[in-house]
């Protein structure tokens, strides 16, 4: 049997949806499952991790793990992987996963694959599928060693509501602090806003919004829809949107039910970050904008006219 360890994706103390998605997939593959939670005040998450589909919960809970630091985080995951004799370690798509996975792979002498969208196991043959070249191709990759550490792309797997596990908590010793890379401070972007990675609807703003007033207009639409609020690279460069709002190849990868691209032309790097959306609505005044080549619904028009109208129509249907 294959043992799959899923690293709990925790943000501001809450378990993110990706953890249940990964555990459901692991169980669908017939694997034995465990989860590992690393952080401060994370011990309380054990019942949730069991309910999400893990049969063992490794907990590394220590005040020193309050702010993410890659080396101790990876050390705790490695300890759990060894205790569980994990054949695979899966991370949800996050900066935490991207920073920790290569370290864990080196320490476990495992192969490492990021942004995977599928895993297949056929006897001893293991393959993964992942997009590459800004999502323009898919690679099928054969894993040549017994162990694999993977970061799973957002939206790749679905959580099965029928899946559940059993509670069996194993407490890990807190890992040593990294004295050579000391995290001094976290400038939090916790603002009560909806997390892009988890949002069912994402509204993103692009260069077409021009200035702060334009951004505010689109933000209002996002708020009306209870949507995550994202951005194109151009708006981040212009200082109108924060770095952590950037959707794209190097920013956030999102896979919501509905992605609303407002005033975004649709550069390849941006498309690579939102290609997994179920439905895309684009608003752009340029009928030739590349975004219309991928949008399921396109409105050709000035966003300053269209966004207020969208707000009005949505108000009507929500009434």
């Amino acid at each position: 049997m294959t043992n799959i360890l899923v690293v709990a994706d925790i943000k501001q103390g809450d378990l993110k949806g990706s953890t249940a998605e990964l555990l459901s997939k692991a169980r669908a593959l017939g694997a034995a499952t465990a989860a590992v939670a690393v952080g401060s005040n994370v011990a309380d998450l054990a019942p949730q991790l069991a309910a999400a589909g893990s049969d063992t919960q490794y907990i590394a809970d220590d005040p020193s793990l309050e702010i993410f630091s890659a080396a101790p985080f990876a050390a705790a995951v490695v300890e759990a992987a060894k205790a569980f004799s994990a054949d695979m370690v899966w991370f949800g798509f996050s900066e935490t996963g991207k920073a920790a996975a290569p370290r864990v792979a080196v320490q476990l002498e495992a192969a490492c694959a990021t942004e995977i969208i599928d895993v297949t196991m056929d006897g001893d043959d293991q393959h993964i599928v992942r997009p590459a070249i800004a999502n323009k191709v898919l690679q099928k990759v054969k894993i040549n060693v017994p162990k694999l550490v993977a970061v799973v792309r957002a939206g790749a797997f679905e959580a099965d509501p029928e899946v559940t596990g059993t509670e069996n908590v194993v407490t890990l010793d807190p890992p040593e602090k990294d004295m050579a890379a000391v995290v001094k401070e976290l400038i939090s972007d916790a603002s009560g806003e909806i997390d892009l990675a988890d949002a069912d609807i994402v509204v993103s703003v692009g260069r077409g919004a021009k200035d702060q007033a334009g951004v505010d207009l689109v933000k209002d639409l996002a708020d009306d829809l209870a949507a995550g609020f994202g951005s194109s690279r151009a708006m981040v460069d212009a200082g109108l949107m924060a770095h952590n709002k950037q959707v794209g190849q190097t920013g956030k990868i999102v896979a919501p039910s509905l992605y609303v691209a407002v005033g975004i032309s649709g550069a390849i790097q941006h498309l690579a970050g939102m290609n997994g959306a179920k439905v895309i609505l684009a608003v752009n005044k340029d009928p030739e904008a590349p975004i219309f080549n991928v949008a399921d619904f396109g409105i050709v028009g000035d966003l300053f006219d269209v966004v207020p109208l969208l707000k009005e129509e949505i108000k009507k249907i929500r009434a």
Binding site: Q12, P102, P287, L309
Partner: protein
Amino acid sequence: MKILTTVKKVVDVELNIHVENGAIVEKGLQYVINAWDENAVEAAVQLKEANKAETTLVSLGSGDNTDIIRKCYAMGIDNAIHIDDPALAKADSPTFAKVLQKVYEAGDYDLVIAGKQAQDTDAGQAGIMLGEFLGIPCVSNVIEIKVTDDTHIQVSRLGDAGTEIVDVTLPAVITVSDSINEPRLPAMRGIMMAKKKKITVMDLAGLGTSVEEIGGTAPTSGIVEFMPTQKRKGGQKFEGDPAEITAQVVQLLVNEAKVL
């Protein structure tokens, strides 16, 4: 301070990529410097300008990388090494990291600056693995670097919960986000000077290693085939009276797509 930056020559992602019989069609492809490596080069040159650093660039590949190296020279890089070996044509991330380890050990570097990922693989592993192999700290996805003193830097990293401020003891590896800077366009004087500069080219043997030693003969994983991505198709595009088409589209989102 001695800085090593890494660059990779990658396929230009702006062009169309076609897949046939499990392979990428080579015809019509163009190769450019990896965009994030350009950010790494710019970061190194900025540190040199502010702190009197010596900057060395290493490019890995199989084939001629003269064009991208000249560009980095023109941006202000002092020295360049190109590791040219056919064994690197299909190397995976740990193999690249092992080669970088050899380059690092042959010099006396304080800081390695790499792009956070290569735009052809989007793997984002080599820089972090290099830090791991060397047993020195690595901070990834960095958006700012400040020099504290000869042996310390402070970096800002974009993490899941916000911006992490990290005090790093050198030597260390940093991988940079494209948000860190806007790479300069080289001036004509720099371009002319770059043409005269020497590029040190060597193969794996010249570096004092072998395909076996860097894991090239037993890679942990290998691509068996490429497949085309399922292309999204453009759907319905509406033009005309804004109020009318907006109402129409919202109805479709509710009744047809069922996402509102």
